[in-house]
Each structure stands twice: as structure tokens, then as C-alpha cells.
Symmetry: C3
């Protein structure tokens, strides 16, 4: 049984949905030591989020951005507007998508389905680098 | 302390929201060995999701389907349409509901509230069987 | 390595979004014994939810309530109306936000980002006290 924890800093990305599976996995060499376990990825921000979705087509990621912008528009009856028009929608989108992922580990690898990839959802126009706390536990 | 992991295959279900608590619990006999722990259920797909909600009224599950279809309609400015009109809405719904559940275990049972049940949300018209990775950890 | 589990009862709050970080942390003295670990918070209800978001401005929490009421309105084609106009929207909102949070523990504290706080989202007009099962695991 072992625990490990490390912080991963994702470089700044433009507003939108970005596939970061390889970047995350490469930062977690401890994965290969676990036969069974869980990997917990936690984003330490309130205007970006983590989710799992289709890892093949860039169209899917573009359509995510389009739908979320329509569902949580900048033009709404927001009162919290001090930090820019993209700020309050970013907070709501982050709550809808969530700030963490818990992923099963099997035989030293993330047990993702064939089509599953890790999305970093950047909801701000200029969000800057994003910090992830990765906590692994298993045996 | 112990870890266990198994794959559960849920039989194909029609598009909609389905209560699967009993099916999941029956597939996890290891639950009864844990006084305190966590059960992690992970669906290895990007167009179906897992959530917890009201376990009594079929009306609630029908209303879920109605609301999600209205909020994430097939008739939208999607560009990813190659796999059918139900595909891209399925991806967005899956992200909104989430691909995993982490549930507390107490005294050999899932510590769900009285009204909580596990929902399989099938977002495709014909999604086929759905694979769940169940990881249990506790003492 | 250690496991602990306890139930926390949050006092009744009005419909809306409430910051409960301090109340949760104060109820978990076991946090300080863990160098690395995870805290799992689970709400045993289907019409209230837990999420993480901005911990400073009450405007953000008011805007959450406004947006969710617009996105999941009481005036919709609901069939499950027996328990009041606020009931079915509460179930959908609870599924969108989620019923649990898994938070990293580092050096005896929750490793939240500077701006992250724990929100109790009360979706009923009179939801009553809300029960949380908190499960901690770490070393």
C-alpha cells in the first residue's frame, strides 16, 4: 500500500476545452507501481475544470465550448461582474463540470475506456497556468 | 485494509435514466467485509453517465430525461454529427452528470441516504452494454 | 495509514448557496493527523448538493442561485409535482452539482486553492438539516 501526492502545473491555455491525458500521465510515474488503486486529480481553481470525454475528435471539444457558452452566457443577469464578463460564467461552468476526477488504476495504468480522455476546461479568456494536485493510493 | 476491483457489465438499456442500485450492490460481495471505506464506480464510456438521485418515483427519472433533452437538444449548432444526432448531446450530458461516483461504505453497506439510488443515465438511442469499473478500499 | 468516518449535520439553511468550509473543517479534527490523504464528503440527500467555488464574494453565490433557477425553472413540463414546485428542479440541480466532493489532504489540511470554498447548495425552499458523511483516509 502506498500514497503519493504531487502538484502538476499545466501551462496556460486559451479559453476552451483541451485534451491533457498524456501530460497528466507523463507526470505520474508512480502509476506503474500500483496494481489496483485510485488516482485523484484536483484543480485548485474556481474558473477551470476537469472532466472526462471523447479523446479523438477536436470537433467534440469545440462543440463543448459552443454549448457551454450558450448555456452559461456572458450576457446574463450577473451581479458579480467586477473581474470581467468571462468570470461569473467561468464559475458556473466550473461547478457544472467539477473540480476533480477520481480514476481507477489497474495494472499500473489508468483504467480509462478506449474513448476516454482527460479534458482541461479553461473557462477564462486568459486563465494562466493551472495547478493540479494529484493524489495516488493503491497497492 | 484491503483493495478490490472488478468490472461490472450493465446490460443494454434504452435511452433514459435507469435505477441500478440493486444490480451494482449484488455484484459487490466484498462490500460486507468493510467497516469503513469507499466504493468508486467508474463508467468507461463518454455517452453514458452515473449519478445519484431519488430512488422511488419513476416520474423523477422521466423528468430527468425530459429536462436534459431540452437543455442539451439534438437540434443545436453541433459540428460533430457524424455519429448521429444523439451523439454530441450524449457527450455533453455525460460531462454534466459525470462518469464516476464515490460512495461511502459503513458497516458493510453503501451509506446511501434513504432516498438515494444509483442512476445509469443512457444518453444514446442504442448505447449497448455499459462497462463499470468498481474499486473498493477500506478496512 | 488510517481511516475515519463521521456524520456531520448541517443546520437548516434557506434555499440558496452557502459557504460551509469552516463548519466542515472544524468538524474534522482527524485532518491534522494526515500528511497525505483524501477527504470524501457525501451528502445523503437528493435535493441539495456540494460543490467547490469562489469563497470570497457573496455575489458569486447569489449569481449561482439566479443562474440555476433560470436553467432549471419551476415552470417546466415536470410530471413529478406532488412534493411542490421546488422539488423536481431540486433533483436536477442536485445531479448537475453532485452529491459528493473528494478533496486532497496535505500536511494535515485540505489542500484547497486560495479561492476555493465548500458550498452547500440548498435547492429546496425548506430543506431542513442536511446530513454529510465524511470519510478520511491517508497516512
Amino acid at each position: 500500500m502506498s500514497w503519493s501526492q504531487r502538484e502538476i502545473t499545466l501551462r496556460p491555455r486559451p479559453r476552451g476545452v483541451h485534451l491533457v491525458t498524456a501530460e497528466i500521465v507523463d507526470a505520474l510515474p508512480e502509476l506503474k507501481d500500483l496494481d489496483i488503486g485510485l488516482a485523484h486529480l484536483f484543480i485548485r481553481h474556481t474558473s477551470a475544470s476537469l472532466t472526462l470525454n471523447e479523446n479523438a475528435s477536436p470537433d467534440v471539444r469545440r462543440d463543448f465550448e459552443t454549448w457551454f457558452n450558450a448555456a452559461v452566457p456572458e450576457d446574463f443577469a450577473w451581479t458579480h461582474t467586477l473581474e470581467g464578463a468571462d468570470d461569473m460564467p467561468a464559475h458556473v461552468k466550473a461547478a457544472l463540470m467539477g473540480s476533480s476526477l477520481t480514476l481507477p488504476i489497474s495494472n499500473g495504468r489508468l483504467a480509462l475506456g478506449t474513448w476516454q480522455g482527460i479534458y482541461l476546461c479553461e473557462h477564462r479568456d486568459s486563465g494562466g497556468p493551472r495547478r493540479i494536485v494529484a493524489t495516488l493510493n493503491g497497492e
